[in-house]
Every structure is written in C-alpha cells, then in structure tokens.
Symmetry: C2
Subunit: 269 residues, 2 copies
C-alpha cells in the first residue's frame, strides 16, 4: 500500500524557460477546439489575448503548480503531457488525472485557497498562461467560456469518479486494462492517430501504479500478463493496443464507453 517517494525533483517549482511576447498566436492555436476557447468565433478569439499573458515552456520533470501553494496563474495546456497528483506526508502519491493538450490546469472551487494538488510535467510542455485575477472578468465578458469551463470540470469529475470505481472495485488486471484503453482512446481521438498504430506513453510503470493504487512491481507483472494475452504491448515509452475489443472485455466496459470522447471537440456547450 505504501510507496516511498524516491529522490526525483518532484517538488521543485516550475522554472519559466522562455516567455514570448504574446503576438497574436490565438488564431493559430493548435488545441483551440479541445480547449476552453472552443466556443469562441474567430473574431471573439481576439478578446482572449487581452486576458492571457503569453505562453511558457516547462521542462519535463518540473511542477507547474504545487500542492499547498497559492496559484496565481492558470494554464491552458498547448502541448505535452502532465499529471495531477496528491502527496501524503510520508510520500505516498496518488496520481488522479493525466492531462493532455487542450486541458485546463489549476482551476479549483476556491481560487484564493492554496492548491489542493500539484501538476507535474511528464514531457516538455507548452502552456498558455492566464493570470488568476483576470479569469472572472474574462468570464463576465464571455459567459460562453464560463459554461465551457463548467462543462470541462464536470467532465473531469466524471473521469475522477470512473477512476475511483476502478481503484475501489476492479482487480489489477481490469484496472490497468481500463486505464490504458482509456488513454488509448483519448489520445487517438485528440491527435487523430490512425487505428492500429501505437501511441506515445510517457509514463513509467511507477506512474501507472501511482495512478491506480498499485506497486510498480505489480504493474510490471500485470503488464506482462496483458502482453502474454496478446492484448497490448508497452515498450520504449509507447503503447501498442493490439486487441482493443479484447482489452475492453478484460476491463469490463461496454463498447461505447469511450465513444463519448468523440463528442469532445464538437460540444461547444
């Protein structure tokens, strides 16, 4: 049940690395459809630029937001993978969400309060920065954005609930199957990866364990089992799902559980 956190620079603060002058890049934003900004028309998009304070790069392995510290900024993830996690005093870690491009990072019920969790960059990331103080004003200006945010949070809540069901009630085999299948669909549908191709998976087995309430050792054993069943293969930081249906079977989900991800970009509230 335990897992002593190792050396790693897990609690280092994020280090700003470059800070472009915010030209007018929103029009060329690569994640617009999946992000907060989806409901905005081309003309409206200009408004956002007045509220954001540019983009920033975060090196892999650094924390964008730190549990216990107040967050002065919110981020729209443009590229890269992140995860949210909570730490117990003795170092046990729970990873609760894997964030992909388009996800909005750092919002919580009470923005005045210190962060309830940390956000960690798995790969090098590029984020679009919103000073916290601007946010409510932006929402007042463009209520559609507020609605969109509500929608995104509700989606996060549903993912969290789903994950809770996994960790509370599914076996290791089911859990890992479900988790990887879920990632597989999320990534495929956002990035338009062709069926049958493998996807990047910048997670160690320890990350997977911390996301699912397992040990890295047991993750390894279970991954082997899934490989021997011919369902998937994890190697070289990539995931290859060979038999999505068989995997869905193991995970105990009905066919279209992940179909709803397909609606993600379209549903502009």
């Amino acid at each position: 049940m335990t897992s002593k956190r190792p050396s790693a620079p897990l609690l280092d603060s994020a280090k700003p690395q470059s800070q472009r002058p915010s030209g007018s890049p929103c029009a060329a934003c690569t994640v617009r459809d999946q992000s907060l900004c989806a409901p905005l028309s081309d003309e409206e998009l200009g408004i956002v630029e007045g509220f954001r304070s540019g983009t920033r790069r975060i090196a892999a392995g650094h924390d964008l937001l730190v549990q216990g510290e107040p967050a002065t900024e919110l981020y729209n993830l443009i590229s890269g993978w992140v995860f949210n996690y909570q730490l117990l005093e003795d170092g046990r870690r729970q990873i609760d969400k894997i964030g992909l491009p388009g996800d909005f990072l750092g919002f919580q019920a009470d923005l005045e309060r210190p962060m309830g969790y940390s956000v960690h960059a798995l790969t090098e990331c590029e984020v679009c920065v919103f000073p916290r103080r601007n946010l409510l004003e932006l929402f007042r200006e463009k209520p559609a954005l507020a609605l969109r945010l509500t929608w995104m949070i509700a989606r996060d809540e549903s993912l969290a609930r789903e994950r809770l069901t996994s960790v509370g009630r599914r076996s290791a085999l089911e859990r890992i199957g479900y988790f990887l299948l879920d990632l597989y669909y999320r990534v495929r549908l956002r990035e338009g990866v062709p069926v049958g191709a493998d996807i990047p998976l910048p997670l160690t087995q320890e990350h997977i364990g911390d996301a699912l309430g397992l040990t890295s050792v047991h993750v390894n054993r279970t991954l082997r089992e899934l490989r021997e069943m011919g369902l998937l293969r994890v190697a070289g930081r990539r995931l290859h799902v060979m038999d999505p249906d068989g995997l869905a079977d193991i995970a105990g989900v009905d066919e279209d559980t992940f179909a709803e991800y397909a609606t993600f970009p379209g549903t502009a509230c």
Copy 2:
C-alpha cells in the same frame, strides 16, 4: 475485491409519492444557504419558482436517478441523505459521493447523455425538482447561479479526488478514519450539531465498504479497532466521534483540512 450485490431493491426506479402544488416555499427553504440558490437575494428567489416544478418525497431505499437512463429532472436535496454509485456488470458497487441537504443532484457534463451513475436515497428524502430543459434558461437568466453550480461541481471534483487518494493509497484504518471524520465535519457544520454530540449515520457497514473499496467484514474489523482505540463509536445508526484529533492523526490529515467546509455557506461565489 468482489462483493456480490444482494437482493435489495437497488435498481428500482424512484417512486413519486406526493407532489405539492409549488406554492411559494422558496422563501422558507431550509437549505437555501447551502444550495444552488445561495447567491440569490430574497427578491430574486421568486424567479427560481418559475423554473422549478415543485417538491417531491422519495422513500428510503429508492433510486432518484438511474445509471444508463436519461435524466429528465435535476434535484436540489432539501432533506435526507443520498449517495451516488456506479455498478459494474457483475454487481460490484462503488459509492462515490454521500449527498447531504443542499447538494445538487444529477448534473453531468452532457445532460443529453444517459446518467453515468445512480443516486440512491438512504433515508426518506425531500427534493426540489428542476426539469432539465429549464436549467440552461435559468442560468441565462441568472448567471450567478451558473457560477454557483460551477463552484459546487469543482467542490465535488475535489472531494472525488480526495477519496481517490484514500482508496488508492491509504490503509483500511486510515481510510475509514478519514471518511468518518469527513462526514462528521460536513454534518456538524451544516446542521450546527454541537461539539461532542453524535451525528446520525444512516449507512450500513456494507455502504462504508462500497464507498472505500473494502469488504463489509473488513469494515467491521476496522471499526472495532477504532473503537478499541477510543477514537469513535458507531452504533444504532449513529456516529460518535470521541477524539477528533486522534482520529485526524490516524487519518493523516492536518488540522484544517476540513476547516474549508466552514466556508461553504458564505462563499456565494
């Protein structure tokens, strides 16, 4: 890991029992401060009455909303306890949220989609009914309500995340300690129960197990342990926390983790 669901009428649909004509009871609403309506002034309150369709009683043991079925109505819980749960095909159950008076029930990202979870009445409940179709219009009329809802969902998400950390990384003793302490504070602060008094706890040991990813047998063992440590006592559908600090210690939370509940009513966004 498994737990065969027993006989019980878990999947019965909710049975409407009475349907008062909606006089003008909003002014006398007992949960106004804790509910969606908190941001409304006395005058504004009248508006809500045009959108809601009255109140309804649900008998204990019935489901208000059912996983897989579309929800035509949303509810504001006025009195009674409920819980949200998800069911796996083989009957394993995960309870994800205990709902108390003031909680808003049934909202999810995509209201058109069938419910992703069920809501079950633990005690007899009284709810304030909002037809789903009215909701967006109501929010357009009163944006403060939309903001308030966002706030409430974000709060739910944070609770779900906290619970995930428990189930994924805490031992049975810690988990149960945390869970009961959390309920203790939530109930105390909402109902103004005096310090040292016991609170109602309409949960069976099986419910607690299903909420925390444990077996009822193991919950029983662990409850005994907590009792023998002099920390708490569960009996006759009531919970008596004898040593909140000691319990917080076991649960591994810092003092003011639950202090934020205190801000619940006040923070009208």
